[in-house]
């Protein structure tokens, strides 16, 4: 026990002192915590292994507790690459001049939000959100995270656009569940009657048989918009060598490990650019999330 303690003591003090130099060569990335943490850690450890093999540098994934923490870590250059949502990506690129969206999932070109409801609320699915006005008014409603595109920005936009009211005025009670998996669970359990979530999370959970379809159903699907993307800092070439950014992009586009892609879930990655996310920026400005 004592020996063990001493060994740990020495090891960690060495780590403490060499942290700065070790990290100089480590390529660190993060991701917005949009789903259960166990899933994220599993998924991104796989990505870290893959990237470190492809890029020949040490690659480390750090989990964070909020969307803003991911953006801040990127902005503060404590991470150089991040898997952002549409909105967090726009926020991050505004704060870090020279940073670039380099790749997105095939599905992210036309992403959707699903509005879901507990079946006990008795809301029938509809083609247009406006048809649901009477059924939805006064119900309890949960977004995902405050900084989420599919869980907050787009649903809030459509609620304001269709009903002409702020969500907290239209619904009886408005909450922020924290992430998409939790939104699903809370609506399934009836804690909230209605919620809005990332359609990929819904479909994956449905395929895996994790949804009680007697308790919760999709009531409306939003029109398509661009979402998740990999964003990289503009100064990585100076730190990791010429052409590093291009190599990261290449590695991400070439990723074809079925199991790894399945965990996102995406069918593959395709090139992306900052301009692809202009619609998200405009929407965020419109509802006052961005200045």
């Amino acid at each position: 026990m004592a020996l063990n303690l001493i060994r740990k003591f020495v090891a960690s003090s060495l780590l403490f002192m060499t942290a700065a130099s070790a990290n100089a060569e480590t390529f660190v990335f993060t991701a917005i915590p949009d789903e259960d943490e166990t899933k994220l850690v599993e998924r991104f450890r796989g990505v870290a292994d893959y990237l470190s093999e492809q890029l020949d540098v040490e690659v480390r994934y750090i989990p964070v507790k909020s969307y803003a923490a991911a953006v801040s870590a990127f902005r503060n250059n404590q991470v150089q690459l991040a898997w952002f949502g549409g909105l967090s990506g726009v926020q991050a690129r505004r704060l870090v001049p020279g940073s670039e969206a380099i790749a997105q999932g095939v599905e992210d070109e036309a992403f959707q939000t699903y509005f879901i409801a507990n079946t006990s609320a008795g809301i029938e699915p509809a083609q247009e959100l406006a048809e649901l006005e009477d059924e939805l008014r006064g119900k309890t409603f949960t977004f995902g995270s405050k900084g989420s595109t599919s869980g907050r920005l787009m649903p809030e936009f459509h609620i304001r656009d269709t009903f002409g009211e702020a969500p907290e005025d239209f619904f009886g009670r408005v909450g922020f569940s924290g992430n998409h998996t939790r939104t699903l669970r809370l609506v399934e359990a009836g804690t909230y009657e209605v919620g809005a979530l990332n359609f990929q999370v819904w479909q994956k959970e449905l395929e895996d048989g994790n949804i009680d379809t007697n308790a919760v159903q999709v009531i409306w699907e939003t029109p398509a918009y661009p979402d998740y993307q990999w964003t990289i800092r503009g100064d990585v070439n100076e730190r990791f060598g010429d052409g590093f950014k291009a190599r990261v992009k290449e590695a991400l586009l070439a990723l074809d490990d079925k199991a790894l892609l399945e965990s996102f879930p995406r069918s593959g990655f395709i090139p992306a650019s900052n301009e692809d996310y202009e619609p998200i920026r405009k929407t965020a400005e419109e509802i006052g999330i961005l200045d």
Partner: protein, 488 residues
Amino acid sequence: MLSYPTVRASLIFFAVAIAGLLFADIAITASNPWRDLGNFFLGVVTPNFFSSEGLMTALLRTVAFAFVGVALGSFFGFLLALVYRLLPVRIFCAFIRAIHELFWALIFLQFFGFHPLTGVLAIAIPYSGIFAKVYSEILEEADPEPRRLLPPGTGMVAAFLYARIPDCWDQMRTYTAYRLECGLRSSAILGFVGLPTLGFYLESSFSQGLYSDAGAMLILFYVLIASIPLWVRPKLLPIYILAAPFFLGEGLPIVWGNVERFFTEDIIPAPLRGDEGLTGLLPWLNDLMINEALPGIWNTILLTQIALVATGILALLAFPLISNHFGGPVRRTSGHVFLVIARSTPEYILAYILLQLWGPSMLPAVVALALHNGGIIGHLIGRQTNNIRLRPDAPAGFNRYTWELVPRVYRSFLAFLFYRWEIIMRETAILGILGIYTLGFYVDSAIQNIRFDRAMVLILITALLNIGVDALGRYIRRKLALQTMPTC
């Protein structure tokens, strides 16, 4: 009875809380809260200690952050206590302790990021303010007699060390040990915003419904706190304090440019940063006040007043659990366990658990605040009743409770309650991060939208509110001539 000022004050606070209930959002919104609560308790009795590879490391980090933070806090708090009679120092200390550890952590996260310094400063800064106040109170109450007996010409330092410190030493040591326990709680909850302590894993397991994993973490935490007398020994303390900095983990390196940017850009109000200048500042502040600050202040005060009265009621109901005047040893032992668990669990964790189980409203927050603070006060006055000697023919049972004991401890009960008023408000504000619409909710929203200028104004308002309640609490304690004890 109404002629007693203490009774009148109690009734006024009670009436305010009842009126508050009419405006407060109190509800259980989960459709099956008792099943969930049952699942949770099932998890606690079937703990899984091998869930996460990081659990032991997290426990070690929790202890390390607490030691470093509290050690620094008590060192600087002591220095500040020496000059505490200066008004600027008092204002400075009131200000730094009015801001909750989690708010400090959220601020430092923006420029130090995931460096150990973030967690250390988040504990050390507010604790310095608290230590400064309490140490100075202890030093002030020291017996002046020994100093008068010193030969003329004795140096100030020598006089201080030989005539003042010995008299205060015991009290300062007891208080510092109590603060270490608080430090462990603070350190644990820092995990909720991403630092590598216990809260990090607790939040993950809980949000995924892994109650057995969460149960194991809670049990480890109780064992850690309950066993403090066993492993925190005066002789071992220097070793712990010297070793702790090496167990904070490596984190990520600090980029100093971020610090400058934070202070020169991020927290400058948006209109001043842009080209609108001073003319834009007023509408900006106006918007912030009306849409965020005022609803936040209203909800914070509402929840604080309800929770304060609930705390008082719970403390009065709970103290017989450990009082020698009632029940047998079996009931007292289980009473002890209940009160230890209630006061060892940070409000933040209790509120988090109850919110998950009952759904969002003010109810989980009220219950969490009442359980934690009521547990502390109930424990203190319960112990006090053990020193009361009743006549052999004193009534038993309910009459003993209402006519003999409650009147005897009521003044110190009120003193404790008003002392914790400010603490309850600090916690109420922070619980907003969990989704209750108090000031913390709006601070968190501003940070989530990367608007640190707004977040800073809101944190400032929270601090001023706390300072106001602290002053009011002191005024009432003085008016009612209630003794204050810093060991609460």
